[in-house]
């Protein structure tokens, strides 16, 4: 363990970084630094010591090496749209903004691979390979969020129930490790020998290093897409429909639910035509081969109607499909119509526990005298309860936070997770002990120490309490082949 106390005086480091990236790409004026103080989770703000905007992977490498030499912690940031404070800066640390690394380096459509820099937006990947192919992970923020951020957070989206998450699409990475060294993992190909270090890195929330190049897998656009929205009197009725669809052997491309409060907010904001008195809206999208889609879509329609749906709207073309999705995608932003502030949670539950957990959330909301709107990825049980509050009312933010915490606990108690796609970041690290015991957390730390023994990359995130890495214990054991001169250690 190198015990270098991070210097609070960054003058020397700032000069060095200017030499690497140029004067205009190092920010150290207080008012400019404050622009970077928060990511998409505005409840947290920390002004970084310096912001540096490297223009190439080579510059990232040199910036990280300089931070390492100075013993200064650093945080990598993509678009800053994350919802867990994962890109929250470290005070007196360096924030490495990757927004200038936004080149699509190679489109190898024949092999269904794309090589991008981390600052490329999620949507740009699909645009680069369209219209024949696309990149399935589609977080709601896909117009702005970056692939580098998606890799850090293992981002999902509405279609991940069927198509999976970022981790299922990354086939290669070029990484700058926290000691300023470069590692290339994987590439276009599958099953290279060795550990699945790509799998370990994706979703590590910036704590293992900085990805500077990313190989992504893209897939053909499905032949057919069919979308409907069905309305029900209650979320429990809609929940029954979800169970019936999924247990009937249908794997929808997306299956999303909204409750009455979120319907009202979204409808007010978009005019998408959702009935404001509906207790629940269920958006179901099927995709795949046309022959298969047609049969399955009829089954879904039959299930919705049989389960007492009050009305069903089937998209007849892309415009109608967009309109159905517009309300769902606007739900978060539309919450301003209900309350000035909201606190969004990201808990996951086993799908069959949906009615039970929703009932608990209802009861908690009544007890805390706050409104909770529910928007969720129903197929995979990922809830996004939006706890509405007024930040100007004394005690209300604290009450909202407490309520949000109890919702997380209800998810974990139901056998679920504290976060499905937003990440732990700084916001949910306090909940980690609800899911993981001391031995589990200590084992996570082993991975961290292999990549970042000095703890310089995005410190203070993910783990509930700060931890240090000791030296690797245990004696070095010479490999018998090595002793016999038949093999080297590597």
């Amino acid at each position: 363990m190198t015990s270098v106390a991070a210097s609070r005086d960054l003058t020397g480091l700032a000069a060095e970084l200017r030499g690497i990236v140029g004067d205009e790409h190092v920010v150290n004026h207080e008012h400019q630094l404050r622009t970077y103080a928060s990511d998409g989770l505005l409840q947290y703000a920390v002004t970084p010591g310096l912001v540096v905007l490297p223009g190439s992977a080579e510059e990232v490498l040199r910036v990280v090496a300089a931070c390492h030499t100075a013993g200064t912690p650093f945080v990598a940031r993509g678009a800053g749209s994350g919802l867990s404070g994962g890109a929250l800066p470290v005070e007196h640390g360096v924030l490495i903004a990757l927004s200038r690394l936004r080149r699509i380096l190679e489109v190898d459509l024949d092999n269904q691979r794309v090589l991008v820099e981390p600052g490329v937006t999620n949507i740009a990947v699909s645009q680069a390979v369209g219209p024949s192919h696309y990149y399935p992970p589609d977080p709601s923020s896909q117009i702005v969020c970056t692939i580098g951020g998606n890799v850090a957070e293992n981002s999902g989206g509405a279609h991940c129930f069927k198509y999976g998450f970022t981790t299922n699409y990354v086939t290669g990475l070029e990484l700058v490790l926290p000691d300023g060294s470069l590692v290339r993992l994987g590439g276009r190909e599958s099953d290279l020998p060795g550990y699945d270090l790509i799998g370990a890195f994706v979703g590590s929330e910036g704590t293992l290093g900085v990805a500077t190049k990313i190989w992504l897998r893209v897939i053909p656009r499905p032949e057919s897409v069919r979308t409907l929205v069905a309305f029900f009197e209650s979320t429990s009725e809609a929940g029954e429909v979800v169970s019936e669809i999924v247990s009937g052997g249908i794997v929808p491309g997306a299956i999303e639910m909204m409750d009455n409060l979120s319907i009202r907010a979204a409808e007010g904001a978009t005019g998408a035509g959702y009935p404001q008195d509906a207790g629940a809206a269920l958006v179901v999208e099927l995709d795949g081969s046309e022959a298969e889609c047609e049969v399955r879509f009829d089954e879904v329609l039959r299930i919705c109607r049989g389960a007492g749906s009050t009305s069903v709207r089937v998209a007849e073309d892309d415009v109608e499909r967009e309109l159905i999705w517009k309300a769902r995608k606007a739900a978060f932003a539309a919450m301003g119509r209900i309350a000035p502030n909201y606190y969004v949670q990201d808990g996951v539950i086993p799908r069959t526990k949906l009615p039970e957990v929703l009932r608990q959330i209802d009861e908690l909301a009544r007890e805390y005298e706050l409104q909770v709107a529910n928007v969720f990825h129903a197929g995979d049980g990922n809830l996004h309860p939006l706890v509405c509050y007024d930040g100007h009312r004394r005690g209300e933010p604290e009450r909202a936070e407490e309520l949000a915490g109890l919702i997380v606990k209800a998810c974990v108690d139901a056998g679920g997770s504290i976060t499905g796609e937003h990440g732990v970041g700084v916001d949910k690290k306090r909940y980690m002990p609800q899911m993981f015991g001391e031995a589990d957390l200590a084992t996570f730390q082993r991975l961290r120490c292999a990549f970042d023994p000095e703890g310089l990359a995005n410190p203070g995130k993910v783990m509930p309490t700060p931890r240090l890495c000791g030296e690797v214990p245990g004696p070095y054991r010479q490999h018998p082949l090595e002793a016999a001169g038949l093999a080297e250690r590597f």
Binding site: H133, R184, G203, D287, S289, A291, P350, G420, F490
Partner: protein, 379 residues
């Protein structure tokens, strides 16, 4: 070697045995069904074997949630039979035999279904592992969507038991399709097969497998469909094939054809070279298979091929492996099944990147500081 073929009766006993081995510096190898013990690089013969045969409980099958929790020693076939009763499956179809779920995951083995559902890393939701200092740790969870904490299950998938023992797995299940159909088209020409494979891989039909086979002067491309209307989909694929220059025929009773694909990934007496190629270089790999008289199975969307080198001496096989590596570079050619004599002559892994190796060793040292879990097999 002191062989403990019956193995500890419980996970707790296995953890105790592992801790003792760690303290004593006794090298160990974990054993599931014992079907892939030769995979990985050559390490020294371990002093002790710890079998997972006693860890054979299906702990949970949550049919409504399409998830399950299994102890590592559950044979894959037994798990599939249990899931099938609920019309479900674990979408892993490696050439199984006696393989256990823990062994399949530790070796990251897979079969034709991987083209659609991914491999073990993509289907394992959570994992409980034991480390050589007696630590028992859990990562992931039991729900299909979860990003809390590091994804250690992916790190352990394919680690060949070199980081610790897998004790328990939670997995995602999928519905068993009600019907399947396969379109197959033959040609002796790698170029023609490659063009057809590429056309199918890029068409917007949703398949449940897209494979190649090649050897003995003939080859074929196979595309499988599953669901309510597999025949109609196979007919649509026939039109794509026709445009790509091959005419195929549709088979409804297609299980045997796919079993043959799976079996082509293994060799009882010969050697298997797994080539990490690309879709566009599959014809080149087929040409090399022809040159070396190897039978080939290819998984088109992944660009992966398994070449079986059979009926030859270890010396001839070693020459073939070296030539394949030279001809197919930079594609990685790893030895899977192979006689020990061959493994003594060529490095089963082939060349690796220095930076990746250094990081791999750092990971190994942190998870297995005593260095007792199958040393030399990965690093």
């Amino acid at each position: 070697m002191q062989s403990v073929s019956d193995g500890p009766a419980t996970a707790a006993q296995l953890v105790d045995a592992l801790r003792e081995a760690g303290q004593a510096g006794t090298t160990v190898r974990f054993r599931g069904g014992g079907t892939k013990l030769a995979w990985g690089a050559c390490g020294p013969e371990p002093e002790r074997e710890l079998a997972t045969v006693g860890l054979d409980r299906i702990v949970e099958h949550n049919a409504g949630d399409l998830t399950a929790v299994l102890e590592a020693g559950v044979p894959l076939e037994r798990a599939q039979a249990a899931f099938a009763e609920a019309g479900q499956m674990l979408a892993l179809d490696p050439p199984a035999g006696d393989a256990t779920v823990g062994g399949v995951v530790a070796a990251a083995d897979s079969g034709p279904l991987r083209s659609r559902y991914g491999g073990p890393r993509d289907l394992v939701l959570g994992m409980t592992v034991a480390l050589s200092d007696g630590t028992v740790a859990r990562s992931g969870g039991k729900v299909i969507k979860n990003v809390a904490g590091y994804d250690l299950a992916k790190l352990f998938s394919g680690s060949l038991g070199t980081l610790g023992a897998i004790l328990e797995l939670s997995v995602r299940l999928h519905p068993l399709p009600e019907a399947t159909a396969t379109i197959a088209a033959g040609s002796p020409e790698p170029g023609a097969l490659g063009r057809a494979a590429l056309a199918l891989s890029h068409c917007p039909l949703e398949h449940a497998g897209l494979d190649l086979r090649f050897g003995g002067g003939e080859g074929a491309v196979l595309m499988r469909f599953a669901g309510a209307e597999p025949l109609k989909q196979a007919e649509a694929a026939a039109r794509v094939l026709h445009e790509a220059g091959l005419d195929g025929s549709v088979v409804e009773d297609d299980e045997a054809a796919w079993r043959r694909q799976r079996e082509g990934q293994r060799s009882a007496n010969g050697s298997i070279v797994r080539v990490s190629a690309r879709q566009t270089t599959l014809p080149k790999v087929m040409e090399q298979a022809r040159r070396h008289g190897a039978r080939l199975v290819g998984r088109v969307p992944l660009g992966l091929c398994w070449l079986a080198l059979e009926d030859r001496s270890a010396g001839e096989a070693a020459t073939a492996v070296e030539e394949l590596r030279r001809e197919l570079a930079p594609h990685s050619c790893s030895l899977l099944d192979s006689p020990s004599e061959l493994r003594g002559r060529v490095d089963p892994r082939g060349p690796r990147d220095d930076g990746e190796l250094l990081l791999t060793q750092r990971v190994k040292q942190r998870f297995d500081p005593a260095g007792i879990c199958s040393p030399g097999v990965v690093v």
